[in-house]
């Protein structure tokens, strides 16, 4: 099984476990913070589908500042020139990440030299070529990565995030 396959394997630890995905979804609903919608609410938040850029806007190994899922959630798009986990586009090399450190909310710096995100607050480092895996650091999450899609025109859309963003108890506020 390739590592990319594992990205969709959300069941490795389901939020509410001991049941299949559908059942897990129902269980989540019972503890969502929106009681009025509990009867019909979705298991997960509804992410906006936002156009972040066009593939032509990206230059190899140069971060392009974006925000997702709203203007208060800064992130980057990166074209890494080789197939990477979560990568989209013709070369499966385009990825997007939040730029807010999931440890204490400091702004991460991109290190083009080794393609990592680095936190000046407490020295955490995340590997953009390994699905945002924390190389070393104090965050208890790997770096939230965007679920991306590229359409026929080369427009890059974000459609979701795979971890909770720092500073919000719901990724979509």
């Amino acid at each position: 099984m390739s590592r990319c396959d594992r990205m969709v394997d959300v069941g490795r630890r389901r939020f509410m476990s001991g049941a299949g995905l559908a059942a897990a979804g129902v269980a989540v609903t019972s503890i969502t913070p929106i009681p009025a919608q509990a009867a019909t609410g979705a298991a997960r938040v509804d992410y906006p589908v936002n156009r972040l850029a066009n593939v032509r806007d990206l230059k190899l190994n140069e971060p392009l500042n974006v925000s997702y899922p709203d203007a208060n959630a800064p992130g980057v798009l990166l074209k890494l020139g080789k197939l990477v986990p979560g990568g989209v586009g013709a070369e499966s090399d385009i990825v997007g990440f939040t730029t807010i450190c999931p440890h204490k909310g400091f702004t991460l710096n991109y290190g083009a030299g080794d393609r990592t995100m680095n936190c000046p607050g407490h020295y955490s480092r995340f590997d953009c070529e390994a699905g945002g895996q924390q190389i070393w650091g104090q965050a208890t999450q790997n770096l939230p990565q965007y679920v991306l899609r590229v359409d026929d025109k080369g427009d890059i859309y974000a459609e979701g995030v795979d971890e909770l963003l720092y500073g919000r108890l719901s990724n979509v506020l």
Partner: protein, 870 residues
Amino acid sequence: MAYKRQIDRLPIIPADAKESNVTCHYCIVGCGYKAYTWSASTQGGTAPNQNKFGVDLSKQQGAETAAWYSPSMYNIVRQNGQDVHIVIKPDKDCVVNSGLGSVRGARMAEMSYSQQRNTQLQRLTDPMVWRYGQMQPTSWDDALDLVAQVTVAVMNDMGEDGVFVSAFDHGGAGGGYENTWGTGKLYFGAMKVKNIRIHNRPAYNSEVHATRDMGVGELNNCYEDAELADTIIAVGTNALETQTNYFLNHWVPNLRGTSLDKKKAEFGSEPVERAKVIIVDPRRTVTVNACEVEAGKENVMHLAINPGTDLALFNAWMTRIADKGWVDKAYVDASTTNFDQMKAANKLSLEDAAKITGLTADQISKSAEWIAQPKAGNARRRAMFAYEKGLIWGNDNYRTNGALVNVALATGNIGRPGGGCVRMGGHQEGYSRPSDAHVGRPAAYVDQLLIEGKGGVHHIWGCDHYKTTLNAFKFKQAYKKRTDMVKDAMMTAPYGDRPAMINAIADAIKKGGLFAVDVDIVPTKIGEACHVWLPAATSGEANLTSMNGERRMRLTEKYMDPPGQAMPDCLIAARIANHMERVLREQGKPEVADRFKGFDWKTEEDAFMDGYHQHEKGGEFVTYARLRVMGTNGFQEPAVGLETTGPVAAGTSTGTTTGEVLKGPAIEGARGKEPVQKKGAPTSGAVSPASGGAERILGTKRLYADGKFNSKDGKAKFMETQWRGLQAPGKEAEMKKFPFLINNGRANITWQSSYLDQDNEFVTDRTPYPYLQMNPQDMDELRLKQGDLVEVYNDNGSTQAMVYPTPTAKPKQTFMVFAQANGVQGNVVSPGVNEFIIPNYKQTWASIRKLADAPEGVKHLSFKSLDYTA
């Protein structure tokens, strides 16, 4: 792809959620946390009046906000039999961590037992016994009866020396004052067990005998001293990874220069600057890198000495400082003895030390300047000395420890702001036991005795020799053989026929077998060899008191139920005592049975009041009710009074208070603080208000602030500590025979032996195998690629690790993560110890060869540098 939880929102803590004080379960630093619990059927909301924080949670919160928690800080657990949501998040108001959470502590909630969310289902829920060829659940009474019957049978046959014990002596999870007292009262009170060892070493001894023998308790300063020091000397401590928030919250401000205002306020006109740091470590760690990032390379001196040569460096420092006239003569005259003898004995020139350490003479003289050259206006330089396992598990522990304390004393740096000579610590501390004087010194080398076939029954408390001892490969082979003999014998009798079963076990023991009882919270590796497992509760599943590396004592309040039938260790010890008393009476031995009285505790608080409250220095002031009021800041031991009484007891022993035990027991009953035990009742004269009283407790910020030390004459004694090469038998030959140094220690992401982390997907995703940091040139020579599994082997044994290319590693000097189940570094550590049976884990040499290409679980890993770059 890296592990992702796919969680995009979390339940909100309602305004009326219950709040409990929590000290992190894990490392010595003891960060303050709060646990919030509320009914599983309710939830808070985003409006300020609907949540605990009183803020609008529909808005993005800023950096360092208190109003956010990560998925790892959340879980659903049982509390008083009901399902509750729980959030355990760092406490911004705790002076230790100021809201910081480490990658270890900030996972406490996720590392809790939750049937609802499938976390830590590895936890033991029932007593288990070897029955019909496998471990099977049973009742407490059945398991305890078996333990008591076999233990009494062994005592009858071999005396108490046939009872072997391995027991934690620390605080935090798997320890604490309640539980060290419970086990201590059983083995040192009811019994006088001498074949006992501590969780991480093969004997019952102190890791720092030398400093104690000199009259200097090893946790003598406060964390604020790291903010006040002119120079921090860090010896064999990788603080960023192993005391993370002490480093981040108290060292970094001084490195950045942001504690200058604090220095000015404390020291008036004395010249102050940002800190300089000297780091003594053969390896370039992430701590070295972070210090350079914060303080600038010009303020950081990394002394990458030849492994095991610290002692020569310290003696050279001492010689240089004395030659330059930088000794604090007034302090030495007033508060110490034996200076001249020490100076003469330890004399070592810069050149000779350079040859031994591999440093240059200039590096040694320059570092001596940073330590002791007076500042402008002839003001004394304030130097804080911090050391940990690089020294403690390093070559010639006793002398090396003494040599460092020599330098600290000579420069007047103990008991003063910005100073201290302290161990950094591993676990929190929480030692309270009756005298261990009968153990003797040197204490019995318990692991060797077990290998040699001694002893008949082995009680194990929160220890896992298979992962965490030296000579582990041979230990495991011998231990398995002996315990298998008993397992096989147990198969010959019906389990329900207790007399037949006891006879079968006793027969096997007479033939060299060993009956083993494992008390733990999870199944362990050594537990695979045991015949009984007793399930213990951990921190938060019971009330628990401990102190941190600045002697800060807190109460972690019970916030959830223990799994199944699990109980706190102190109550398990009490119930073993109850059963042993019964069995002894049934056997017509009332005089022996009477020794097992006094274990009628119903709760952990009973054990606390019987132990710490009655026996520890200042304990008369300390109750659960008062600790609750003191919250996550607690007080610094020893307690000297209450807010209502003022200070009524001396915070530091001068040796003049009658009744205190000085120099007695093998480890002075102390871990870190001094001197703890008193003979008889408290003598301070303070009336301890009824235990319901909730007055604030007064503590002690620094030890020895009055210049009086822990000795009969109140003076610290300099120690003669000549260099004698690699001290432990066999190490010199091993170094010559095998090409690679297998340096070893802990890594940031995992706590201790990974006993909980081994069941945490975030951690196992990143470290499926212990890594072996290796210079790329060495990898090329052995044709290794990143992630390859290699065998590390020498004459002691063999083990495996995963190669992590590390350009900053010196050629032929590797570093392997210690105490991991999937590759036990201790397998290749020789049995050689020092004169007090202290192991020398760090100086280990071995060969390396490839076993296999990176397995599937390794292919997704990042192997990039651990070092932050701006």
